[in-house]
């Protein structure tokens, strides 16, 4: 890491301050990242999450919520750090992947802010931001990354300029599997109570039963068959605790196994877990055991940065800005399907 690197010409002084806006799913988050004498650091961040009263996320309702809280969250992030908007060097925004209506709120706010402050706008890929915040906070700088959240499940690692997707889900995301099963089994919403997912709670006292398929196809996982089979078992009178236990055991083992294959294949010895499901105890235990058995080390992203947040967008925006990556506000289009492996990461191994 180049700790003594000077910030790019786009920064005002010896320090560089970037404000980042996250709005891809159910959280509107604003964070600030700074390039100081010791390299990149995260300042305090602010966020508001939309919690549905029943069912899943309705994009239109969430975007209405976002437009109500946006100004407040931005003000809060600035005042928490006693920073005025004038001091910022750039505005970063997650332009994808995510849900259209929510992305548009973040993009609109960011464009307006950048234009009114006359500061550069930096486009950030949401998945990349989850990875970069994990690399910074775990101090594991060249890891195999398992990224699991409500909308994403992938195993990726940096090779030759970009993060390459080694394996991913062929259908639904891991977080979506847990939430959808909980909803159908009448365990939620809410899906997380006191930091524990309702499926984890329900799995206590359960044991392994037959009837749920374990699907790892080459380097990819598939969860829709698991969901269907689990719900069928319930209808046929299986114990709910056993179904929760088995579904979770199979889904977590499958993502751990793909991560293991990526380690063996690339020879990398560091493993990092990031994304909304990263706070899960059992998944952490499995990955830790797996990494040790492969002679490697493992660390999860800290809990505060596991879910969607503005700090990771600010961090990635800072690194991009210092690599001279900006976008004209009128060209800052959202991209709901923006893939991680389309993004160049010129700062890898240099700035971070």
């Amino acid at each position: 890491m180049a700790t003594a690197a000077t910030p790019s010409s786009l920064c005002q002084g010896s320090e560089c301050l970037v404000l980042g806006i996250e709005s891809t799913a159910h959280t509107f988050g604003v964070g600030i990242a700074r390039w100081g004498s010791k390299g990149p650091e995260l300042l305090r961040d602010s966020r508001r999450s939309y919690v549905p009263k029943s069912g899943g996320i309705l994009p239109r309702e969430v975007s209405q919520f976002f437009s109500q809280v946006a100004a407040k969250v931005i003000e809060e992030a600035l005042s928490l750090n006693s920073i005025s908007a004038r001091e910022l060097d750039a505005i970063a925004v997650a332009l994808g992947p995510g849900m259209g209506p929510q992305l548009r709120i973040g993009a609109t706010v960011a464009r307006a802010l950048a234009a009114s402050l006359n500061k550069p706008l930096v486009p950030v890929n949401h998945a990349l931001a989850h990875i970069e915040v994990a690399r910074l906070t775990t101090n594991l700088r060249d890891p195999v990354v398992l990224y699991v959240s409500g909308g994403n499940t992938m195993v990726t690692t940096y090779v030759d300029g970009r993060y390459r997707v080694f394996g991913e889900t062929l259908d639904m995301a891991l977080g979506n599997l847990l939430d959808t099963f909980a909803r159908e089994a009448h365990l939620g919403p809410p899906y997380v109570i006191n930091g524990v997912h309702v499926v984890d709670k329900c799995a206590e006292g359960g044991q392994m039963i037959e009837g749920i398929p374990y699907v790892v196809k080459g380097q990819d996982v598939s969860f829709s068959g698991i969901l269907t089979a689990a719900l069928r078992l319930l209808r046929r009178g299986a114990r709910l605790n056993d179904v929760c236990y088995t579904l979770r055991e199979i889904a977590f083992s499958a993502v751990t196994e793909v991560t293991e294959r990526c380690m063996a294949h690339t020879g990398k010895k560091q493993v990092v877990l990031t994304g909304g499901v990263a706070a899960n105890d059992l998944l952490n235990r499995k990955l830790d055991m797996m990494a040790r058995s492969q002679g490697g080390v493992y660390a999860p992203v800290p809990k505060w940065y596991s879910g969607d947040n503005g700090a990771m967008i600010a961090l990635t925006g800072l690194l991009a800005l210092m690599s001279n990556i900006t976008v004209e506000p009128e060209r800052a289009y959202i991209n709901q399907m923006w893939r991680l492996d389309e993004v160049d990461v010129p700062w890898y191994g240099k700035l971070l």
Binding site: R164, F166, G167, E249, S253, E257, E260, A264, H265, K286
Partner: protein, 232 residues
């Protein structure tokens, strides 16, 4: 072939030299009834529920053996099966002597007939309803018996054009990454051998392999970033 369900009391690993450790298996070298042999064992995964782990290892070991057996019966050159211990996750098979195709190309020997033969072997495998899943030049051994396909750890029963094209794509990327200047001639000869077995069906596979190349984001292309590296 020996078929047993348990290996109790047999400390068979003693004195067997470890050649390679992959994500799920250890490859050791030893002898079996006087013959030089490969011991491929799927090792228990500590992080999995024991019953699940045992079931998966048994299932995968059986499937790999079945694939080897079916491929051999279809005339594909593959390692001979010596013994199978499904519940122990162990397959004992022939040690195929010789350099890998990758090393042979590097050595400057005449590889041209072998490119045709590689295509023919993959064609025979596909015609038998099997795809290899990791068909690189590192997994082809040039033995005195002839070019032999090894490492069926990711092989599947499939006749889909997509899966067959992935095999062809993996091979092409492997050659491109290790021997770029020879790649186009190699592939032409390879396709000639492949077509000699697959007939007109080869056209769809070649077309799809080209398409996969362009897609650049699919399973196959993702693998290609690492293609040419050794693994098991």
């Amino acid at each position: 072939m020996v078929w047993q369900t348990t290996l109790s009391g047999l400390d068979w690993r003693n004195g067997l030299r470890l050649i390679k450790r992959g994500a799920e298996s250890e490859i050791r070298e030893g002898t079996f009834m006087g013959l030089r042999a490969i011991y491929k064992v799927r090792v228990p995964k500590e992080y999995m529920n024991q019953a699940l782990d045992r079931a998966l290892r048994t299932q995968r070991t059986l499937k790999e053996a079945k694939i080897l057996d079916m491929a051999a019966k279809a005339g594909v050159r593959v390692p001979r099966l010596y013994a199978l211990f499904p519940s122990a996750g162990l397959i004992v098979m022939e040690y195929v002597e010789g350099p890998t195709l990758k090393d042979l190309i590097s050595s400057g020997d005449n590889w041209r007939p072998l490119a045709v033969e590689a295509g023919r072997q993959l064609g025979l495998l596909h015609r038998a309803g099997i795809v290899h899943g990791d068909s690189t030049t590192s997994n082809m051994v040039v033995s005195p018996r002839g070019l032999t396909l090894i490492d069926f750890g990711l092989a599947e029963f499939s006749t889909s054009v997509e899966d067959r094209a992935v095999d062809m794509h993996l091979l092409r990327r492997a050659v491109l990454s290790t021997h770029p200047s020879l790649a186009s001639e190699f592939i032409d000869l390879f396709v000639k051998g492949y077509a000699s077995v697959m007939g007109d069906a080869h056209r769809d596979v070649v077309a799809r392999a080209n398409e996969i190349e362009l897609r650049g984001r699919y399973v196959s292309a993702r693998r290609s970033v690492w293609a040419g590296e050794e693994r098991s």
